[in-house]
C-alpha cells in the first residue's frame, strides 16, 4: 500500500519503451506488476519511473514453429500460456504455470516478469534453465539471445540490464520434463523446487537454493542425487528451511523431477 511517488509512462511500441528505459536511469519496466508493485508497497524498491509494457501487443503471443520451437512473448500471462493450444507442445510449461500463485495473479502476471524478477521462490527460472530456453533481450542497439543458464545473474538481477527488455523466450521441442516442489501449503510460497528435462542426458535445475537456479546434469535419473550432492549447494537458511533441510529437499525433488521427466 502507499507507494512512493513515481512517474508513469505507457509507451506505444517496444522501441519507445526501450528509449524510455535507456533515457531514465531510475526507470523500470512494469510487466504484470504482481511482484514489482508489492515490493514498491513495502518501499523496498522505488523506481523513479514505471514503463508500462501492458498494451505492447508485440510482446504478447505464443507461437509454435514447424520444428516444434515455442516462442513465448515476454508479456504473455500465465493464464494465456495455460490456455494456449500452442503451448501444449511443451506440456510442462502450462502445468507449472497452473501452480503459480492464484487465479488473479495468473491472469495478470507474465512469463517475462517471472523470469526477470528471478525471486528465488519463483518456479519459472529453474524451469527455463532445465528446458534450455533462450531469452531474447532487446536494447536500443538491437537484440541478443541469451541461454537461460546465463540469463540469471542474481536475486532480482538478470542479463536484461538497465535500458534493456526481455522480449521473448524460445523453448525447443520436447516433452520429457518434470517438476517437483515443496511449498508452504498447497501451491504456496516455494521452499525448494526442481525442474528436470531429459534429452539424452538429464538436466535438473534447482530453485530456491541460491541466487540463481543451479543446474546439475546426469547421464540418467539415477545419477541425479549424486549430481546434486556434487554441486556443493550452500542454500540460505530462512524461517521455513535451514540450509541443511533445503539441501535435502533439493536432492529429493531433483530425483522426483528427473523421474517424472524420464517417465514421460
Amino acid at each position: 500500500m502507499l507507494l512512493r511517488e513515481v512517474e508513469y509512462a505507457k509507451p506505444g511500441s517496444v522501441a519507445e519503451a526501450l528509449e524510455l528505459l535507456a533515457s531514465n536511469d531510475g526507470a523500470r519496466a512494469l510487466a504484470g506488476g504482481q511482484t514489482l508493485i508489492n515490493v514498491m508497497k513495502a518501499r523496498a524498491a522505488s523506481p523513479d519511473m514505471l514503463v508500462d509494457l501492458n498494451g505492447l501487443d508485440e510482446l504478447r503471443g505464443i507461437e509454435l514453429a514447424a520444428d516444434g520451437t515455442l516462442t513465448i512473448g515476454a508479456m504473455a500471462t500465465y493464464s494465456e500460456l495455460m490456455s494456449s493450444a500452442e503451448a501444449k507442445a511443451r506440456p510442462i510449461l502450462g502445468e507449472v504455470c497452473a501452480q503459480i500463485a492464484d487465479v488473479q495473479v495468473r491472469n495478470r502476471g507474465t512469463i517475462g516478469g517471472n523470469v526477470c524478477s528471478n525471486d528465488p521462490t519463483n518456479h519459472l527460472p529453474p524451469l527455463m534453465v532445465a528446458v534450455g530456453a533462450r531469452l531474447t533481450i532487446a536494447s536500443s542497439d538491437g537484440e541478443r539471445e541469451v541461454p537461460a543458464d546465463e540469463f540469471f545473474l542474481g536475486v532480482y538481477l538478470t542479463a536484461a540490464g538497465p535500458g534493456e527488455l526481455l522480449t521473448r523466450i524460445s523453448i525447443p521441442a520436447g516433452k520429457k520434463d518434470g517438476f517437483a516442489a515443496v511449498t508452504l501449503g498447497a501451491e504456496g510460497t516455494c521452499i525448494c523446487n526442481a525442474a528436470a528435462s531429459v534429452n539424452g542426458n538429464v538436466r535438473v535445475a534447482l530453485g530456491c537454493v541460491d541466487a540463481v537456479p543451479v543446474l546439475v546434469t546426469a547421464d540418467a535419473p539415477e545419477g541425479v542425487a549424486d549430481a546434486v550432492r556434487g554441486a556443493n549447494l550452500m542454500p540460505p537458511s530462512d524461517v521455513h528451511a535451514s540450509s541443511e533441510y533445503r539441501i535435502h529437499l533439493a536432492t529429493v525433488l531433483a530425483e522426483r523431477a528427473a523421474a517424472e521427466a524420464s517417465s514421460r
Binding site: L3, G33, I37, K41, N54, D102, V103, V105, N107
Partner: protein
C-alpha cells in the same frame, strides 16, 4: 494523470497520482468501499475485481493502468438490492461471517462461474485459492459456489 474508467456501468473521470493503487482509487476516490484491503502483499484477494472481464487483485494495479477499462465490483453484482443466485447461496450456506473477505470471494466465484458453469469441487477451491478467509475455513464458501454450479 487523467483516468477515465467505467465501474459498474458508471463512467468516472478523475485526476490521480500515478502511484495510487486501483484499490485506493476505488475506495477513496470513487467511494466504492465494498472492495477491501486485507494485506499489503497481494495475497489476500479482498480487493478482487473484474477488469474488462478478467479477475484481478486491484491492489496490484495502478489506477492509471485502469484508464479506459470497465470494472465490476461487488457493488455491481446485485440489481436494486435483489441478491444474485450466488449471493443467496452464500446466505443459505452461511458462507460468510465477518463479511470482510466476502466481496473478493464473490468476485472470484463470479469469474469462475462465467468461465465454467459446472466446476468440480477441486476447481472451485482452486478458483478461490487467491482469496483468504479467516472466519469460515472455506468449507461453506465452497458449498455455496457448488450450489450455484449447474
Amino acid at each position: 494523470m487523467d483516468v477515465t474508467v467505467t465501474v459498474n456501468g458508471t463512467t468516472y473521470e478523475r485526476d490521480v497520482e500515478p502511484r495510487k493503487l486501483l484499490i485506493h482509487f476505488l475506495r477513496d476516490d470513487l467511494d466504492l468501499t465494498g472492495s477491501h484491503v486485507g494485506c499489503d502483499t497481494g495475497n489476500c484477494g479482498a480487493c478482487s475485481v473484474i477488469v474488462d472481464g478478467v479477475l484481478l487483485k486491484s491492489c496490484m494495479l495502478l489506477a492509471v493502468q485502469a484508464d479506459g477499462v470497465t470494472i465490476e465490483t461487488v457493488e455491481g453484482l446485485s440489481e436494486d438490492g435483489e441478491l444474485t443466485q450466488l449471493q443467496q447461496a452464500f446466505n443459505e450456506h452461511h458462507a460468510l461471517q465477518c463479511g470482510y473477505c466476502t466481496p473478493g470471494m464473490l468476485m472470484s466465484a463470479t469469474a469462475l462461474l462465467r468461465e465454467n458453469a459446472s466446476p468440480s469441487e477441486e476447481e472451485v477451491k482452486k478458483a478461490l485459492q487467491g482469496n483468504i478467509c479467516r472466519c469460515t475455513g472455506y468449507w461453506n464458501i465452497v458449498e455455496a459456489v457448488k450450489a450455484v454450479a449447474r
